[in-house]
Symmetry: C2
Subunit: 387 residues, 2 copies
Amino acid sequence: MREVAVIGAGMTKFGERWDTSFRDLCTEAGIAALEDANVAGEQIDALFVGSMSAGRFVGQEHVGALVADYVGLGGDLHVPATRVEAACASGGLAFRQAVAAVSSGMSDVVIAAGVEKMTDVGDSTDVLAGAADREWESFAGATFPGLYAMIACDYMHKYGLTREQLAQVAVKNHFHGARNPFAHFQNEITQSTVMNSTLVASPLRLFDCSPVSDGAAVVVVCPLEKAREFTDTPIKVLASAQAGDTIALHDRPDFSTMGATVAAGNSAFRQAKLERKDIDFVEVHDCFTIAELCAIEDLGFVPKGTAGKFTEQGETQLGGKLPVNTSGGLKACGHPVGATGIKQIWEVVQQLRGEGGKRQVEGAEIGMTQNVGGTGATVVSHIFRRA
Amino acid sequence: MREVAVIGAGMTKFGERWDTSFRDLCTEAGIAALEDANVAGEQIDALFVGSMSAGRFVGQEHVGALVADYVGLGGDLHVPATRVEAACASGGLAFRQAVAAVSSGMSDVVIAAGVEKMTDVGDSTDVLAGAADREWESFAGATFPGLYAMIACDYMHKYGLTREQLAQVAVKNHFHGARNPFAHFQNEITQSTVMNSTLVASPLRLFDCSPVSDGAAVVVVCPLEKAREFTDTPIKVLASAQAGDTIALHDRPDFSTMGATVAAGNSAFRQAKLERKDIDFVEVHDCFTIAELCAIEDLGFVPKGTAGKFTEQGETQLGGKLPVNTSGGLKACGHPVGATGIKQIWEVVQQLRGEGGKRQVEGAEIGMTQNVGGTGATVVSHIFRRA
């Protein structure tokens, strides 16, 4: 297996991008990434696109070919393009296929993109419910806020998590988002903002939930041995791990533990030959505040049941022991579902290059990502180091 | 790169499977493939599922995880599952990801599945239009029969193809389908059946068009060096090639030549180090009769403009110089879009094992597949040999 490096990254501003179509979002992020990587179209061997539900959001399938065409790779160049989907983990999985294509020797320079255009429809909650078990969850009325509310209830009951601790996850992510010029929300909030916001599915309130966003993010990878032909700051991929679980939440032995996060995390640390303490910062999948707490526990950074206190003590904020979601996370940076997994990697690239600006993690050397599909039926996790 | 072999294959009967749900189709084909490969769930490292539009056909995304769960791989085993989509080429691309996962060394035993449940909705033509350029083709009224009718008009005008020659493609594929117990249509037809059938989009009539079908197909791959632990008849993957093109037909320089088929075919023959004459039979993407003629020309088997005559002379039928679509092709075997690419490989496995029954190609040693997304924005092609 060949070693792989990220040589470029670009993203659009996330948000309600009513001025910009699905394909234009891809082009905007794609051109930014290609310029960042100093790569020309003729050098691209393959393209992978993560998108959850373009078929329902914009009536368009076959989006790999569409994106390749609109970034100028589809015609005479005949660049092969593949869409990858695993609900909100689609972006992370597109990156994983790009890593496989390079490490197998099939391809050299490969693009991994993620995109979603969600704000054009009125039934986004129903579209997103396609990530759960349609027959046994969605048809019974369970939406995603409802499913994660069940996780939160179970967790609070078992571990005594307070409402204030849960709110602090959103407060911290808005603090980070206010320092990211690409974030959907760039304003700070307080615990009372969260606790007085509209109840969505008890105990989750509006500010516990990530928003419906438009956006795209793109990264470029190549064999590590060739990376310095393109950039002085290649980012080495130390681990690429993926795990699955039952599609339905009710089939899991423990609502508060995401078994696929545990499995993918263990696999990632084994591949990277690292300890938890070696990780300088992590981007995790905070589709709801409760999900961030489960994630940092299930990845093994803190013992089960203690992530609320860890967060309350400021340890997950910039300057803390383990900065979590410096991009603003899904909560503040936004959550165009297919784009999120690539945006996490974009943020790792910024941090490891020392280009994090006002949200820079001091001395960042090693970063990690965790990207979730559904309530944890798919989890993909990567570890990166500045090469 | 490690060499890869197919060690098992299974499929459902294709057709109007109103008795069987999306997930049950997958389970039926999956169990058949696992039994054929003598593989237990504990041995599976990864699963790839090709499905074009489960989000619109059955309201379900995240179908990788769903399928893994329902074949018993999603719970404690945490098997990673990934959906791959490129319209009607989704199945072929799922197989290609499985090959990449094995050849990279990431995984050993990998499942590639394809599935579509199409007959539950009334707007399947609009769903399928998501494979074209929604904004510049579908919104303007172009359906897939319409787009392929433009190809047929252009081809007939340029090369003098007769209506009878075009009809013969369907006649020949029904002849083959009548010998495949898994085919949607198992009846023979005549040229007059085709030429007197309802006009769909001139010059294409009902019997020039592949049907809307339900079905699933599954194959299992592993490193070639381990294949004999599972089977006495491993099938070696000699080439895996993919190429792209513009998403919209109107952006191509020549309607009658599928540039991505030319590119993928050339790449496949280079990888396999073979000549065209070495191929004993081929499964190509005959979504419409005209597409089969273009395919065997663009793959280089006959000169441009001569495939009609070649077909009329019986050379593409069992016993001819190059049997094409012995499964019955999309026309007679049926076309559950995501499943078709895997079904093509299933047929190659049957033939190379000598298990083709009444449709066996005498002395078959090397087989090839060509699977198309849209009007050729994605083409994936594989070559196989009995190991």
